[in-house]
């Protein structure tokens, strides 16, 4: 289905967003709105937002909401839906028109990925401005990977900042800083970069996070280079604050070696603070909605595991925080 949808061009005036959430407290300072961009170069096996992977819109099915009314079958002009049998959709016939999601009365069938404009997004978050002001918050561009739609993201960030709204961007770090210059534009247009640090070792990275198609095998080092470049201030004195965040995934990122390698790297890059984001399995629901294979069966790390990981970073002088509890002034300010 998604393959039939024309891939969005890098249009400056339109982007695909799969969710906008307000009153978020864990992705940057204060109370923030999160704008989730669709599309990600990575396929981390623990991903909690698998609906962010594909750049195009996707159809999700929440079986719990389905009342078996058959509307979807009636409205599908391609005969792609067989209800109530599972699998509910025949991907070979689906043309990705989303008529079924538009007509589904319960919202059991829904579309992830709506085209949005800068104006539309600004109007969506505008009512939250007073709360940003009183809490020291703002907007965080998340995903997926916002740097995949850099012109749009930069334009959005520029507009928001013109209203005095602080903008953060969450990135997996796998982007081409030099290509069109658009990514550099974006990063110069935000106040804070929340930079994921996951798997240090190149081979493990490829296995756990994918990243094929953007120079497979080189992804991990590209990410490290990008982080180092950001830490050095992008060659600009007005660069954003950069803050690393490490998802602590049992058996994947929580190895001593991985953590120690990151600790050494971050110290070298001059970072004073790090957020550890412990794994949770919330993404499982979404995998089911999207008809994806189940993710790996993982348990959330125990408090003492989190503590042990934190210890490794503390031992090199990096302060460690929970999401939402960061002392932002502890990080480096590039430039």
């Amino acid at each position: 289905m998604a393959s039939a949808e024309p891939r969005p061009g890098r249009r400056r005036d339109e982007a695909k967003v799969f969710s906008i959430q307000h009153f978020c407290l864990h992705d940057g300072p204060g109370v923030r709105s999160l704008i989730f961009f669709k599309g990600c170069p990575l396929r981390c096996s623990w991903c909690q937002n698998p609906e962010s992977w594909d750049t195009g819109p996707e159809l999700a099915f929440k079986a719990r909401l389905c009342i078996g009314c058959g509307t979807c079958r009636l409205v599908c002009s391609h005969g792609a839906i067989r209800v109530p049998a599972h699998p509910w959709r025949d991907p070979s016939r689906c043309r990705g028109c989303f008529t079924c999601a538009e007509k589904c009365p319960t919202g059991a069938l829904s579309r992830f990925g709506e085209p949005v404009t800068v104006d539309g997004l600004v109007e969506e978050v505008r009512p939250e401005f007073p709360l940003y002001r009183s809490s020291g918050g703002g907007v965080t561009l998340s995903g997926g990977e916002p740097t995949l739609q850099p012109e749009f993201a930069a334009a959005l960030a520029g507009r928001l900042r013109s209203y005095g709204v602080s903008v953060a961007v969450e990135t997996c770090g796998l982007f081409d800083m030099d290509g069109s210059g658009a990514v550099r534009d974006l990063l110069n247009n935000v106040d804070l970069v929340l930079f994921d640090v996951k798997v240090y070792d190149e081979e493990s990275f490829g296995r756990l996070c994918g990243g094929g198609g953007t120079g497979a095998g080189k992804a991990a080092s590209r990410i490290r280079d990008n982080l180092m470049a950001l830490a050095d201030g992008l060659g600009s004195r007005r660069g954003p604050r950069v803050w690393p965040r490490l998802p602590l995934i049992p058996g994947m990122t929580d190895g001593r070696e991985n953590l120690a390698a990151w600790a050494g790297f971050l110290r070298k890059a001059g970072f004073g603070g790090l957020t550890i984001v412990p794994y949770h399995a919330l993404g499982e629901s979404k995998r089911v909605w999207l008809g994806l294979d189940r993710g790996p069966a993982l348990a959330a790390p125990a408090a003492e595991d989190v503590e042990a990981a934190a210890g490794i970073f503390r031992s090199v002088g990096i302060r460690v925080f929970s999401p939402g509890e960061e002392a932002w002034e502890a990080g480096t300010r590039a430039g």
Binding site: C24, L25, P105, T106, L131, A281, G283, A300, E325
Partner: protein, 828 residues
């Protein structure tokens, strides 16, 4: 690993004493106290009682109450610093034969098996049955309604559909003048009454009327009774102090309590301890004369502050000791509970009494008066974390940050307290109903959310609750209820029952004779029919309230309340006669959002998109969407709803609210006071919901209605900021009895310093935008399990972690399990 960017707001741990009292209370089963009705019966048979039958009804009442006060057995419990037993048991409901207590007889054969069990011996059950049955005819409802032509209104009490008249059980809901209690004592009223009686003249020189004479006599009798009660307690404390086994430290505490009770509440309090003790003794008096609901203390931080500072300056008190005394006071409020049968409990679940304490706010000029004591009362509550008292925090532009932070830290404890009030909107609404700015700014919260200018208001603030969506059902069906359909309902206890929606009002027309659906040709016609039905329902309800007011005036005046409400002593009038400076009857609506969303659904479906005729829609509703499940789902999931910052949906909710407010404010009570509207529903949205047919917003027949000013179940799809935006966008100037707006969070979502700062900002922003009231429930694992069992009962719980956030109900059961786990163990 946590280190916070904001300095920690620390809350104290309970002291050993407080932990002991608390443990004892938690280990005590609930019971029913029959001392009060038995003393009343004893009084009637006594020589004094027989003689009193020939007296003015008010002096008779005052004598009866004084008899109860002076003859009840004093009990002083271990460890407590504030003394005075609320009932004859450690925790019990007082029994009010004059009020609605008789409803408990419905449960008489299964008192121990109730969800809230009551412990009574077999003998006590017999006594309960005897007292209960003996009191029916003499009860307020019995006197007012067991009369020709009024019986159907009496039966309404058992099958509340359009409204539930709480005032049948009592008025209570009061914040009396505790400032005078503490700083001048009851002596002030007693002296004034004595002067009137001696001179036989009112201050203007006119001779006392018989009523005025009776009033001043009632003041003197009542004050004497309260003094006796205090003296008996003092004697009991002295007796315990003298017992050989009593340790010296406890002996000193008991001696202090005894000395306090020998002095207050008659004389002015000299110390902080005496001040609180005085409040507590008067509070017992108020509980024994009316009924237990909503008797509130007002702005204790303001009232007690002068005593507190003087004690501190003179070295008698430390902030720590003051906090412990306050905590002991808070635990005293847990000694009482309401007496509801399980049937009534559907309407008022949770065994709440709501003894409110109001903190912070401004003086008469609008300047902030938050003080150290405001914070210590929050500390004291953090020690006890009990279902009582109710805590209320006033917020305005000058509210200090430390105080708001501390209040939010208490919210994070997960007890749903305190609730927050926006001074701006509240004061505006109170001025709108005639209060002077200075008096409006001295407002305190009555019970849960209602308001009065403390010590100046007689507000029957919970007089009745009104079922707003039922009026839409009636409007769509020419004044008749929809036909009965069997539905499966889930009660607040989570139990599922299959039952009908009740028969009343199906044979005969229940509402006004509005045109049948086929003649409602425009949306404006529908709104007009709805307004007519609301007016008709409110008119009916006001008629019944008028009958009750008449009975209160004659058979059940409340002298303790009158002594401490400005206006009564000056005029020689009991509050039930209209003596108070400000007098209101307040009616609350349940199901506001359901009504508003339904209006919008009708407008779109029938008039804008013309997908159905109104008649067709009505027949679908009558069948409870049978055969139209897809339409029901579409209405529920895809139509715009109040609570999402959607201007049209919010406007429809305003139309529904205006229909109610206009109908209510057009009435005056028989005391000359105004009727004022409010929007909260206790748990009436459950009880009413069971009587209400399917609604155009997709709500199935028999299910819960929306609650207070909260969005309909599952309708808030855009998170708490959108809910608050919708709420703040409504014009609340006419809503002088306030509203309740609940937000629910999973405890992990708003933990720590960041969560605290975020909630504080959220509330400030809401009040800046004109919000009136908000409370945040931070849910524990148990509540989340309940939500998992019955998703429809717990919509809108937002679960948040880094980079992810969703509604709890949307998640897979296994994921819900994980969140529950995470909440229960605090790992994250």
């Amino acid at each position: 690993m946590t280190s916070s960017s904001t300095p920690e707001t620390s809350l104290p741990e309970p002291t050993r004493r407080i932990a002991r009292i608390r443990a004892e209370l938690f280990a005590t089963p609930y019971s029913v106290c029959l001392e009060r009705p038995e003393l009343l019966a004893r009084f009637r048979k006594s020589a004094e009682g027989r003689q009193a039958r020939r007296e003015h009804p008010l002096t008779r009442r005052a004598r009866a109450l004084a008899f109860v006060f002076s003859h009840r057995r004093p009990r002083v419990y271990s460890d407590e610093l504030i003394v005075g037993n609320m009932t004859s048991r450690r925790i019990a409901a007082n029994y009010y034969p004059e009020g609605g207590s008789v409803n408990i007889l419905e449960d008489i054969f299964r008192l121990e098996k109730r969800r809230i069990p009551l412990e009574l011996s077999a003998r006590e059950k017999w006594r309960l049955a005897a007292v209960g049955l003996g009191g029916i005819l003499g009860s307020v409802a019995g006197r007012a309604l067991l009369r020709p032509g009024r019986i159907p209104y009496f039966l309404d009490f058992f099958r509340a559909k359009r409204y539930f008249i709480t005032e049948e059980a009592g008025v209570a809901h009061q914040v009396v003048d505790y400032r005078t209690v503490v700083h001048e004592g009851l002596r002030k009223a007693d002296d004034e009454a004595a002067r009137r009686l001696d001179s036989g003249l009112m201050p203007g020189g006119l001779p006392l009327t018989a009523d005025q004479r009776a009033f001043y006599e009632s003041v003197r009798l009542t004050v004497a009774g309260i003094r006796d009660m205090a003296a008996n307690l003092a004697a009991e404390a002295e007796r315990l102090a003298a017992e050989p086994g009593t340790p010296a430290k406890r002996r000193a505490e008991l001696a202090a309590s005894a000395a306090a009770c020998r002095r207050v509440p008659y004389e002015p309090a000299r110390t902080f301890l005496e001040g609180l003790q005085a409040c507590w003794l008067v509070h017992i008096g108020l509980n024994l004369e009316d009924f237990e609901q909503g008797l509130s203390f007002g702005r204790l931080d303001q009232i007690l502050y002068p005593l507190y500072t003087r004690d501190i300056e003179e070295g008698r008190l430390t902030p720590e000791l003051a906090t412990e005394i306050l905590a002991s006071f808070c635990l005293k409020t847990c000694e009482t509970m309401p007496l509801y049968s399980e049937r009534i409990d559907q309407y008022f679940s949770g065994a709440g009494v709501a003894q409110g304490i109001t903190l912070g706010g401004t003086d008469a000029e609008g300047l902030d008066v938050t003080n150290e004591l405001s914070g210590l009362i929050l500390d004291a509550y953090a020690m006890v974390r009990t279902r009582e008292p109710a805590l209320h925090v006033r917020v305005h532009a000058g509210t200090p940050k430390w105080f708001l932070d501390k209040a939010v830290a208490v919210v994070q404890l997960g007890c749903g307290k305190p609730s927050f009030f926006g001074d701006g909107a509240v004061v505006t609404a109170l001025e709108e109903v005639g209060m002077s700015p200075a008096h409006a700014r001295d407002y305190a919260v009555i019970g849960c959310v209602e308001m009065g200018s403390q010590g100046r208001t007689y507000n029957s603030s919970d007089a009745a609750l009104f079922n707003l969506p039922l009026c839409l059902e009636l409007a769509l069906n020419g004044g008749r209820r929809f036909p009965n359909v069997p539905v499966e309902t889930v009660g607040p206890d989570g139990r599922r029952r299959r039952r009908g929606l009740g028969l009343g009002g199906r044979w005969r027309r229940l509402g006004a004779a509005t045109p049948p659906a086929k003649d409602l040709g425009t949306f404006e016609d529908v709104v007009e029919a709805f307004r007519t039905q609301v007016r008709h329902g409110v008119d009916d309800m006001a008629k019944v309230l008028g009958w009750l007011e008449e009975v209160y005036r004659v058979s059940r005046p409340t002298p303790v309340n009158s002594i401490l409400t400005e206006g009564c002593l000056e005029r020689g009038k009991d509050v039930t006669w209209g003596g108070a400076l400000y007098d209101f009857t307040s009616i609350q609506a349940a199901g506001l959002a359901d009504a508003g969303d339904s209006l919008l659904a009708i407008k779109r479906l029938v008039f804008d998109e013309q997908r159905f005729t109104l008649e067709e829609l009505v027949s679908i509703l009558k069948a409870n969407f049978a055969g139209h499940e897809a339409l029901r789902a579409e209405l529920a999931a895809r139509f715009p709803k109040y609570g999402n910052g959607h201007p049209e949906a919010d406007r429809m909710t305003q139309i529904a609210a205006d229909a109610f407010a206009d109908a209510v404010t057009s009435h005056r009570n028989t005391r000359g006071g105004r009727y004022v509207p409010g929007f909260y529903s206790m748990t009436c949205h459950w009880g009413f919901g069971r009587m209400t047919g399917a609604l155009p917003n997709g709500r199935p027949a028999g299910t819960r209605l929306s609650n207070g000013l909260s969005p309909a179940d599952g309708a808030d799809r855009r998170g708490p900021t959108a809910v608050l935006r919708s709420a703040a966008s409504l014009d609340s100037r006419k809503w002088a009895n306030c509203y309740a707006l609940n937000l629910k969070f999973d405890s992990k979502a708003v933990q720590g310093g960041a969560g605290r700062a975020a909630l504080a900002s959220l509330f400030e922003t809401f009040f800046d935008a004109g919000g009136m009231q908000v409370q945040a429930n931070v849910l524990d694992a148990e509540s989340l399990r309940a939500a998992q069992r019955d998703p429809s009962a717990h919509p809108g719980i937002v679960v948040r972690v880094a980079g992810y956030c969703a509604y709890f109900n949307d998640l897979q059961p296994a994921v819900q399990d994980e969140i529950i786990e995470r909440t229960a163990h605090g790992v994250g």
